[in-house]
Assembly symmetry: D2
Homo-oligomer: 382 residues x 4
């Protein structure tokens, strides 16, 4: 085997996403043939003990407490941003200016206005960049994309997508601080719109093309919660639920919805697409299955197929086990990283790039604007 080029990774953030990304750097080279060998060089976090513990568990060689120091390090090739949303822009721009590859958690930023300079920075610097919209790399979703690209669906009439959770229903749950910054709009930008709908939208843009206009509604079911930083009850600033109708450039109609108040659903990310000839469904709770209907099947045996996407001739699965055996959530990050490194090895970026992340932010901006204006709103930047 030829010696692989070492790629020194500097990770910022050590929460849930830090864990998932670290796992991807370790696992990707064992299952995929990559032009780079990622090396876990440094992890950066404000609390040194936490960072050290994280580094020990995952094998990071060093620890930083100031992201600026990390970005300045000459021995770092790639900056991975897994810290809260309000930190993405500043870090990403600095990293790009320092000539690092940049991988950023989603959403790219709290708004399109904040995201736009990030895109400019990475494009000006010419550094490989991506946003961790990992669900594009679920094998069943990748298969669906392939089927769409083959023209099996014909004209598209409808698209639907939901992200349903139920973990914030209790009034007793506080908001804010390290554990719950997703419930604080100042840090997160918005509630479920940026946290969950952003996934639905990225996937939709990927599969069905640009969205032109939206009409939306949002709701905050629980109006006040104790804030973790102050210890005091304060108004809740995020949207607990967000839904919108929209039209795509290809003429199809769509409905999107995300909520953390759908009792019984843990992380039910769903999608359905209806075309002239074929339709498909997918959801995250059984993420290895693709629902597929083909009207060209003979009438009497026509039906929805449940495709167990685990065969070697299905996307990514030849790298894993044997037919019938599932892979986990973490594999979607491994796939994305593998695709990214292969593209980067050839001097290219692969979607979702920062520019793709910005496209999603334009849609979430339009959704939030429409919820306020109670009007149809055009999606900008298309």
């Amino acid at each position: 085997m030829p010696q692989k080029k070492r790629l020194n990774v500097g990770l910022i953030g050590y929460g849930f996403m830090g864990k998932v990304h670290s796992n991807a750097y370790l696992q990707a080279p064992r299952f995929f043939d990559l032009p780079y060998q990622p090396v876990l060089k440094a992890v950066c976090a404000r609390t040194p003990e936490k960072a050290k513990e994280f580094a020990a568990n995952w094998g990071y060689e060093s620890v930083e407490s100031d992201w600026r120091a990390l970005v300045r390090r000459a021995d770092i090739d790639l900056i991975d941003i897994a810290s809260p949303n309000d930190t993405h822009a500043e870090i990403a721009i600095a990293a790009a200016q320092a000539g690092k590859m940049v991988c950023c958690e989603k959403p790219l930023a709290r708004s399109a206005a904040e995201a736009r300079p990030m895109v400019e920075a990475v494009e000006k610097a010419g550094v490989a960049n991506m946003v961790w919209y990992n669900y594009r790399r679920v094998p069943a979703v990748a298969l669906l994309k392939k089927l769409l690209d083959e023209g099996r669906f014909g004209r598209i009439f409808h698209y639907r997508s939901q992200f349903l959770q139920d973990w914030t229903i209790s009034q007793d749950l506080p908001q804010g601080g390290q554990a719950l910054w997703r419930l604080d709009a100042a840090v997160a930008g918005s509630g479920v719109t940026g946290d969950l709908l952003a996934h639905n939208i990225d996937m939709a843009l990927y599969l069905n093309g640009p969205i032109t206009e939206v009409t939306a509604m949002t709701e905050t079911f629980i109006k006040e919660r104790k804030h973790n930083l102050t210890g005091k009850v304060a108004p809740v600033t995020i949207d607990d639920a967000s839904a919108f109708l929209c039209r795509f450039e290809n003429g199809s109609l769509a409905m999107f919805e995300a909520t953390r108040y759908a009792r019984g659903h843990k992380a039910l990310f769903t999608l359905e697409i209806n075309g002239e000839r074929s339709s498909a469904t997918w959801d995250l709770h059984d993420m290895h299955r693709l629902g597929y209907f083909d009207h060209r099947d003979p009438g009497e045996v026509r039906g929805w197929r449940s495709i167990h996407v685990s065969d070697g001739d299905q996307p990514y699965m030849g790298h894993w086990w044997v037919p019938g055996l599932q892979i986990g959530y973490e594999a979607t990050f491994i796939h994305q990283l593998a695709d990214f490194l292969i593209a980067a090895g050839g001097g290219k970026s692969i979607g979702p790039t920062f520019r793709d992340g910005l496209a999603t932010d334009y849609v979430t901006d339009a959704v939030l604007k429409s919820a306020r204006s109670r009007q149809w709103e055009k999606v900008e930047g298309q």
Copy 2:
């Protein structure tokens, strides 16, 4: 057994709905203990041969070709309107004025303006009346209603409902005439909004209470079709797809959608309701099953239950077979008729009454209005 009172039925229309209603009059007394014995006295249709054939098959004693003649007959106790939507108002009002019980196919009329005098007529006449929104009487739906009424769900956050079909996708399908009047807005009032969404809305008002405001979009995917009455290609006047976001009086958010362009779905009427403690799902393609989630189950064994609604202690099922055995679509009409006749025997009307039918028309009016105005529209008449 005591002698039952004979109830002479006059049916107007002999299409699909005429068949289903006739079956209900014959079957209801065999499975339910009713205060009346329905007698198929007369069927009315414009084409005498068709009416005679229909009468022979179902056992109607006589045939009429003019509905006015039928309504005038002293030996008719109940007028059942199963003719196209543009005929409902005139017939229903005349029947009420003649003192007959009136059962009318849904939607009650082409608009709330047309429906309002119908409500006034039956209420003024004091005649028993109902609209054939049959799906309330699916046993699984009736069970859901009972669970909601018992307070098992707590505060309601979300409601969703779809009616997905795929039978008009072909450009070759003509519009209008006897077979396809549902594709002609002059006769039907609207497209999927009145034909399909009306079912979703009636069910939602029944289960979740009044809707206050909506924002909607509609689309006509195929703009021109041959018209059966003229033989010429003419603009399509109906909505092929219709979707709306709305808010209910109880504070919950909802999404509704109906289309005849969802490839792979024949008659997929779905609903989901999410409450603080419980959630439920149901769909027409497996109409004997109720999905139910109860957060009060112990955490480690919490999951969605698939309730096979076929036991004697579940609604209506004690009248049928043994546990595990399904009933058909037609049973929903039998149940509705049985409930109606039992109520009528006690001098009462039972929902969905004409007034309930009007409430649905107010919502469909708001949906169509919003699709034109591109604004949120209040639902009138609440």
Copy 3:
């Protein structure tokens, strides 16, 4: 319409099966074009009040309390036997000798020895005959039969079938008498072997051909129950559970099982068949769906199809509603009666005939024999 020939029906038994058969005589001519118009001429039962009540509900013109008197009546064309198993042979033979058509509930008799003279009697008399193995006429099953006959499956490797119930688990349930004769071997012949497995076997013989040999086990989980006729606790004489392995003449291997001790299953009759190219599954709890897998589909979109058998081009469904709408359990009897009358109108019998019923009895005999002998046993009469 031409005048149909009247066919006078005499029914023996008024229990669950009497109800289902009566419904079929009334409904079949409304949904199918038949050469006969069935007339509910007489119902026979030992208790006159029960018979009168049943006659009033279903519209029987007269009542008999002695089946011999019924069989002697010149105005009866068809004898329908819906009484307990121990009465089938004597009635059927007398009816055949009287030249009546004979429809008999399953199993044909308590043993093949008892059934053989019944077959001889109807064949000697040349009367149309059938056994009410109704599940062959589930549309999804009829579709499966058609697909098999078209050669879509290739060589068959495996067949599996279960009938799982849970209604006798309680120790408090008594045995015997009118309500629970199925728990009394003297009346029923056996327990689940004759009551449930007989359905599985008839279907298997129909779909997959003759069975050559079996090895079986049976169990009586609850050894003593109060007997309804004596009021005393007595040994339970039936098999509560019965399972067997077998080989078919076509070389395939199979497993069968029936039990009334499978908690959570009401009437879960299942089947699966695996062929070289295709496989299929079906179950009674969602009886309108056929699972179908076709290996000739392209690899990456290969999956199990869930076929919602409700379209006009699928077996029987053109006689009912519109695509997407289900039919009930009772429809299987209507279909069987319609097929029987159409065949009888042409002077023919159609399966399952008495001879087919005997074939099933040969298999259940072998199963019970093997459970005693603890040996593989050949199936006789093949």
Copy 4:
């Protein structure tokens, strides 16, 4: 963090199982708090190039081509046997005699006679030992075990388990050699009985206790295949399909089946257990779901629950992601290794030990014997 004790691993075999085991040694310490830090010290394989390539990918420090040399190495603490079945006994015994911990792929050996000395060896040496029956550590299965241990099911009546595959249907598939030794009885011991049924049996013994007697049938559908080692067509020596009925010591009845000729199923390992109060189902194609029915639920809302086993309070899942997100097949090996190392750290072995592996071999022996004798056969060694 305290320094962990290093545990030097020597792996024998580099096929599919070598890959899965290696992954477990690398991943377990990142997700579980273990008393040992596994070190990938050496991999052993007959072909040095293959071994080097494997070592480079997984990070093994050294390579051996003779397992005896590996077993002799003082720097090896644990021998992991992932080579074909005919090598297990000799290696395991030598490893035990050398005082190493031993982890052996399943089945433990080609027969109980071959396995017995292995058990004696590890027990005499007092070394920690386990057999890689990984499916006990699927979180849904572990949850089921917990529910059973809590007494939720009451008396058990039935157990069923299948392992259905379809990858050997083609006549063109050869047998034997490195790639297909599972099709060669001399190497594998048997066909699906040892390869697949062994999984079903281990799980059943774990969940439902000892099996007392069996009656079985096996079949070889394709009688001759080209042999990879000779290049000549030769008789197929393995069983392609294997099925048996049995009784458990607890009085329950059971059916087991494994085949590689069930078209449409890739690796469909299923189980169902029916108790007096509760029932449960599980299958490998959706391995994160547990079906659970509890008769103590109120009648009208009783139904099968689909438990998405992905919450922190469900077995193992607190070590992974967040609720709603799946884990992969490989996680079952990680869990087993973690449990094994934790037990070994405390000086104990945890099931499935070699003794447990022997218990399964006794059952598979009885199955193969019964298939030949056509008799019920007692299970030895109980």
